[in-house]
Structure formats: C-alpha cells, structure tokens
C-alpha cells in the first residue's frame, strides 16, 4: 500500500490529520464535530482504559454511572462553574418527533417541549454532587472514591480528531472527603497516577504542575496537571486533577457529621483524562512513515509476514510462523500472522509501518534454509537477522527496549526544548524559532499572563511541582518573582 503521507516538516498539522485517518484510528462523522473511533484506534483506547482502570482500582476507587443529562438549573448553582461549562453545550428541549405533513419526513413535535431543558453533560460535577447529597450523612460514609467512564459533549466550533471534538470519551473521578488535607492528598495522588501512566505506559514524559488561577478548572481551588510536549514544540495538557475545596458541597448542600457530631461541608476532588490522549500518543512518537506505537499500547505487538513463491514454500513458512506465534502468545505477546494471498509483502510492510506495529518478523526461503528470522523495528526502522534458538527472547527483550527507547527519545526531545529566558526579547525569540517550553519568571498576576498571551500566543502551562524557589524578576514587567513558570504555545 502506498502511504502518501504529508511530511511533518512540510505541514505538521496536515501530517497529523492524515495519519489519524490513514492509520485507521478515527474519522469525522456526519455529525459536525463528532468523530467515529475506528476499531484500530478503539483497540488502543481500550488498552489505555484497562490500565487506567486497574490503577484506579488499586488506589481504592470504584466505578459507577451517572445520567447523561443534567437539568439546566444545576449549572447556576456553582457560580464559577457556570461560566466555564454552561455555555457551549448541547441542549435537549424536546422529547418527541412526529411525521411531518408530507407523510415522509419527520419533525420535532411542538407539543413535546420539556418543562426544563436538559444539558448533555460537559462534565458531571453538578449531577454527581446532587446525588452525593443522598449518599453522605456521616464521616463513616467518607471517603467516597468514585470514577465514571463516559461520553461528554462540549460544543466546540473548531474541532480536530481526538484533540478537540464535540463529543469525546473520558473518565471522570469524583471523590468526597472529610478533611481538606485528605482531599488535597487525593488530588495529588491522582496527578501522580496520571504521570506514571503517561510515562510508563504511553512512553510520554510529562511535567507535573499546578495551573495558574487563570487556567484553573471552573469551580476548582487548585488544578494539578500533566503537560507533555509534542514534536512541533507545542505543549499538550494530558490530564488534570482538581482540588475543589467545599465549592460543590456548598452549591449542593452536602454536609456530614464528623466524629464529634458536628456538621461540616464535604471536601471534593475531580480528575480526568480523555481520548485526547490518543492525539498526544500520535504526536509524541510517530514519524513520516506513519504511527509509532509503544509496545504497551500496541493492539498488535508483532506481525509475521511470509515471503514465498508457490504453495510448498508457503506451507513450510506457515509451519514456522504458527509455531512462533504460539510461543509468543504463551508469553502474553499479541501476534498476527498475515497470510493473506491477496497482497504482496511490500504492501504489508507498508501497512504495518503505517499502523505502527512495533516489530515485524519476515520469513523467506533463505530464513527457512538457515533457521533464521528477519526482525524489523518500527521505532528505528532497523533490521536484524535472528537465529531460531534466540528468537523468542530476542522479541521479548526488544519489545521492552522499544518501550524504553521511545520514552528516552521523547524525554531527550522534551528536555532539549525547555529554554530558560531572562528577557522578553529572548522569550519571543524562543517561541518564534525553537519553540517548546519557555521557563521564565512571572510576577504572578493574571494581567501579565494575559498580556503575554496576547503578544505571543503562549500561555502558562504550569508551575512545576518540582520547581526550585528562586528570586527573580518578571520577564515582562520586571516585578519580583519567587520562581520560574513554564510557558508554551499549546493544543
């Protein structure tokens, strides 16, 4: 198959859009802004879900499911939340259709108007805290550690597959605690879970930090985040975890009796990651030949392609291929033997390169004669001939190496794209050339942050959790600063 993929250096954005479609990850649907996640893309998402779900359960969380619809009035209850979320969203106003006068088309039945409009959830804090009111009476009911896997809708005008879609899939954790300390510890724990998942599982290095007031989640007291860097030098927020204080408990009147019998409002967190991670995955590792998938997330880790002339060779090669497949599957490695006779090996090589399969094993007549396999790595595009006795161990080790190599490569890239600047000239210079993160002193005001954004399109991605306190002067205003923050252009 011919790939005809735009090069990253030509047009990074076009490369991304083409790759997502050509590698069968997703496509646009007939509904504006909504995507179809295709089986190959969904298989990767399922692997992310399985691992995250395991990590959530290991940290004591349970899953539940709350309604898709939220009564409109709920959004008015938390003042800052309404500004952030109750604006661009899908509104259900009617509950019935009828056949039109032409007897053929259908139309909304004007008699079936809802008394109160329903909003398709853009996030579920309001409906969940309204429910928690019935679940929490005493400190014995706390902590409540719940997660939901769901679809949400935010009416975006400009959408891009995975990165920004009207409907997307995500998980949202919503926890309730007896004390502020415990809630903060939970919010911090979850940003750590996300970072561990991104780095160890997706091979994406991330910076853990907190958001400035301006970039905070609507209704949060503190927003923790993980920020990744894409190959074009733009940052991508890959997950957030919010300490919500008592804001939602107050908005929905959720009180509990503490051990001393006194009534107090409950402390809250919420945290989420979404199918946006699929975009981060593509933009961190892939290249001009197509997807590059970390072995941990690859639906097919090893593909075996036979190279043969005539049935006799095919049969002999198939025996070898099937034996290898069986041995690898026993180790939990996912293998596909592509024995289609409708496509040539070259076509198949291209296809699996495009789809990012980490290892490709080819078996030809010479291999058969010599007892060898030709193994090609997707990440480095290099090949090696491996003897039969070593093949299983080789593949096992190589999958680990590829996982590690992708992380190291992305980490080196990220680290070489964090630039410390001390003047606004340098600041602008980095953003117009090298791009990446700019580490600069900032005076702590929203006014400065917004002015910088206006001039450079860069926002403060985060105040890194591990930043060193360092006296300095704001790169823009010259006012005193306690430490550097990370700016970048972002997705």
């Amino acid at each position: 198959m011919s790939k005809n993929l735009t090069k990253r250096s030509e047009d990074y954005s076009k490369w991304y859009n083409e790759l997502v479609v050509k590698a069968d990850l997703a496509e646009n649907s007939a509904v504006k802004g909504c995507m179809v996640i295709k089986p190959y893309g969904y298989a990767i998402w399922e692997k992310m879900q399985a691992e995250l779900d395991r990590m959530f359960k290991e940290t004591g969380h349970q899953n539940a499911y709350f309604p898709l619809f939220i009564p409109k009035s709920f959004f008015s209850k938390e003042a800052s939340h309404v500004d952030g979320f109750a604006k661009e969203c899908a509104v259900v106003t009617h509950y019935r259709l009828r056949t039109a006068a032409d007897g053929k088309t259908i139309e909304v039945d004007p008699d079936a108007k809802l008394e109160e409009e329903l909003i398709v959830r853009p996030t579920s804090e309001t409906i969940i805290w309204n429910t928690y009111k019935g679940w929490i009476q005493s400190y014995r009911d706390l902590p409540l550690l719940i997660n939901q896997w769901a679809n949400v809708v935010r009416w975006e005008m400009r959408t891009r597959l995975f990165l920004r879609t009207a409907e997307f899939l995500w998980q949202e954790g919503h926890t309730a605690h007896a004390t502020q300390t415990e809630a903060i510890a939970e919010a911090e724990q979850m940003v750590n879970v996300y970072a561990e998942f991104a780095e160890n599982f997706m091979a994406i290095p991330v910076i853990k930090g907190i958001k400035t007031e301006n970039e905070r989640f609507a209704g949060a007291v503190e927003t923790y985040c993980i920020e990744a860097l894409m190959q074009d030098g733009k940052a991508l927020q890959a997950g957030t975890s919010h300490f919500l204080g008592q804001n939602f408990a107050k908005a929905f009147d959720v009180k509990f009796a503490n051990k001393e019998g006194k009534q107090d409002y409950v402390w809250a967190t919420s945290w989420g990651v979404s199918t946006r991670l699929m975009g981060a995955l593509v933009m961190t590792h892939s290249d001009d030949n197509g997807l590059v998938l970390p072995p941990n997330l690859a639906p097919i880790q090893v593909v075996i392609v036979p190279i043969y002339k005539g049935d006799e060779q095919f049969d002999a090669i198939s025996v070898e291929a099937k034996q290898l497949m069986a041995r690898l599957r026993k180790l939990g490695i996912s293998v596909k033997y592509d024995d289609r006779d409708t496509h040539k090996p070259g076509f198949k090589f291209n296809e699996y390169e495009l789809k990012g399969v980490p290892l490709r094993v080819a078996i030809g007549p010479n291999d058969l004669a010599n007892g060898t396999f030709e193994v090609a790595r997707r990440d480095t595009l290099t090949k090696e001939t491996v003897i039969s006795a070593d093949i299983v161990t080789y593949i096992q080790d190589m999958l680990e190496q590829i996982q590690q190599n992708l992380f190291t490569k992305a980490l080196d890239f990220r680290n070489s794209h964090i630039t410390e600047v001390n003047t606004f000239e340098e600041f602008k210079d980095v953003l117009s050339n090298k791009t990446g993160f700019v580490s600069a002193h900032w005076d702590g005001t929203t006014a400065t942050e917004e002015k910088i954004k206006e001039l450079t399109k860069a926002t403060i991605r985060c105040i890194a959790l591990d930043r060193v306190e360092e006296a300095g002067t704001c790169v823009f205003t010259g006012a005193p600063s306690q430490g550097r923050v990370l700016f970048a252009k972002a997705y």
Copy 2:
C-alpha cells in the same frame, strides 16, 4: 442492619423496587427516567461486560465508537425504522446557553439554534450504516464485525430501574456481510452467544426463538431473541439479534463489488443486550432476604466476618482470616474481610445477605479453638462447619455448586411454568392463575395476536427455535396452525 424488605408474595413489584435501591444497585436520579448505577450495581455490570466482550472478541468482533447524536433526517431513510424509533426520543435543538437578564440563572440562547436537530441515539443502525458506506467497497472489506458499548436514550413515560429507563447502557453489534446466508448465520450465532452467556454466566435459563412480525425490531427481516421467566410468572426479553436483510444497505446506499465484480447491496445484522439484564438477574434469583447472586457475577464471592470479644481474640481471628483470604485470592476468588469495629456481626450478616454475597465465612472463638470455620450459603441459607484442612477446596466446590444450583432451580421453575393449552378458556385460566408461558397453537396472523393481547395482556414472546412441527388449530380462531408458540405477559 435491618432490611425491612417487602415480601415477594405481598407485592412483587414493590419488592423489586426496594431491593434494587436497598442492595445499592441503582437509584432514580434528579433527571426524570434516568438512573444512577451505584458502585455495587456497576461492579456486577462490569462483570457482565467483561464476559460478553470476551465472547464477542472470541467470535471475531472488534469494538468501535460512533457518535451519540444522529441527524434527524437519517431516521426518515429506513421507512419501518422511523416508526419504531424516531418518536419518543431526546432532541437537541440548541448548542449554547447564556446568562439570563437576572444575571444569575441561565437560559437557552435563541441565536444558537441548530440548522438540523440532532437526536440522541435510541439505537445506532442509521449513523453506523451511513459510516459503513465509506468503509465498504469490495467483498474484501467484508465481513465487517463491529460492536459498540454505549449509552442510548428512549424517552419512556413509565420507567423502572434497570427494566425500563430513559437512558440505559448497552452493547450493540452491527455487522455487514456479502451474502444473506452469512448474515443469517451471524444473527443466529449471536443469539446463541447470548443464550450461553445467560445460562452459564448469569444462571438464567432462556428460550431461544424468533419474534412474530408484530414484535420484530423496526427494520429487521427476522428478530431472534432469548426469553427468560421471572419469579412472578412474567416473561422478560433478555437479548435480541436481528437479521436486517439489505434494508439499511438500501436506505444508506451501501454496495460492494462481489468476486465477479458485480455490485450488490450489503447484508446486515444487529444485536444487543442492555442493563435490563440487571433486572433479569435480580428477578430470577433473589428472595425475601435480598439479592442472591450467582458466584460468576458476584463482586464479592466470599465475605469473612470475625466474631470476637476483645482485642486479643480479634487479633487471633484476623490472623486466620487473612491467611484464608490470601489462599482464596490465589485461586482468583474475590474475598472481603469485614473487620469494621463499628458494626456488630449480626448487622454484617444482614448486610451481606441483602447484597447477595454467595458465601459467608464466620470465625469465632470456638472455631479458633477447634480449627474450624462456619460457612453459610446465601442461596439455601444453610450453614456448615468446615475444618481448616478442607476449607479452601470446600469453598471452591461450593461456589461451583451454588452457580449450578441457581441455574437448576430457575430451570425447574421455568419448566414448571410452561403450560400447553388447547382452548382459549384454558389459555385465560393459566394466565390468570399460575402464570408463566402458555404454549398454544396460533393461526399466524397479526390480527389474532393483537386480539389475544387485548383480551389477556399476553403477547407472543417467541416461536421457539426448537419447537416441534405439529398440526393443530389456533386456540383463538380455530384456524389451522403448524405448531405452538409461547405466549406470556411480559416486562
């Protein structure tokens, strides 16, 4: 804890509603007709999902995800589908809210009206077949075997938790085939998968059959179903699989080139089960003391409760409990050790009875002295004392026995509630007394079927796949019939 559960014999319907809420499975939400699935209920649904998903993948299916919204016009494309599905549903007409003149409440922004209204999917045939048009060109693209796990919305006026809710969770398979034969084989395969799942995993005996024209899915040529019998003698449709012919391919113009290069419309199936299965589970096995869960679906299979006075006894018992827990977990058995000191053993016994935990192990001072455990079965409410050396094998065997026993018990009940009748007097008599399935001759017309429904509230649940051809006369009209069909009142 006190259960205060209405008895089934007093008011079956009330018993069900109370049990679902008291056992922490689900509750009604602030949104009319939409439920909250609570963590304990969701954990059971997750077990169903995992097993079904495994079975779907084993039969060659892949998961994907399609949009929540469907353009209104799509429903006009398949004539019979529109009547069945495009009526009672949630309609999105606007995409923005704004702050009202009072500066506080929010209202729909009249300037943000959609050009074409969007319907929240009641089922996804239309949007999926519109997508398949782009995926299918040649016989090489077939079969397409895809499943989706999703939420759907049907605006029901009278709702009941799990059994009938406005929003529910389900899976919907949508497959495309080159030939009619292959599509029919797929539809039959999936009804068999559902039957196997219901019987082996949920311990619910089912009758496999086909629906009459009147009861068929809107847009289907043939609807296969599995029908179960609840303890009150009412039937419940637990899953359906549809052979859709070329109806949706024609409606959405999905053609393919066959091996000879000729264009033909694609053949289709769709099949689904939903959170309704949770209702079937509750109503098949549970009793006046609460839930009874088959071990295969129980989130907690074994609970250990310590009975002690003072810390010393507690510590000694905990050593035993933790050892047992570790040994059982190694075998993949899910165990909880309830060492809460805030609740008495009697309270705990009641709680786990209500929640249907299959086995309860109590350890008291005498057990400690004698090296024994007291094991209580939830299904039979019987107890046995088991010596330490035998305990692990005993529990393992007992879990299998309980699973088997629940199925046998339900099967006996079901079989003793199928009554063959030959006159309409007998027919009415059975339905007013014993209830259950009535096996009767029917003349094959919709008119008779509807008349019988009007008079008795019974519908034809299915024509069993294994029914014996038998000449007879319709129980209502006396017209000739080729075999018996199964009538029942149904959920």
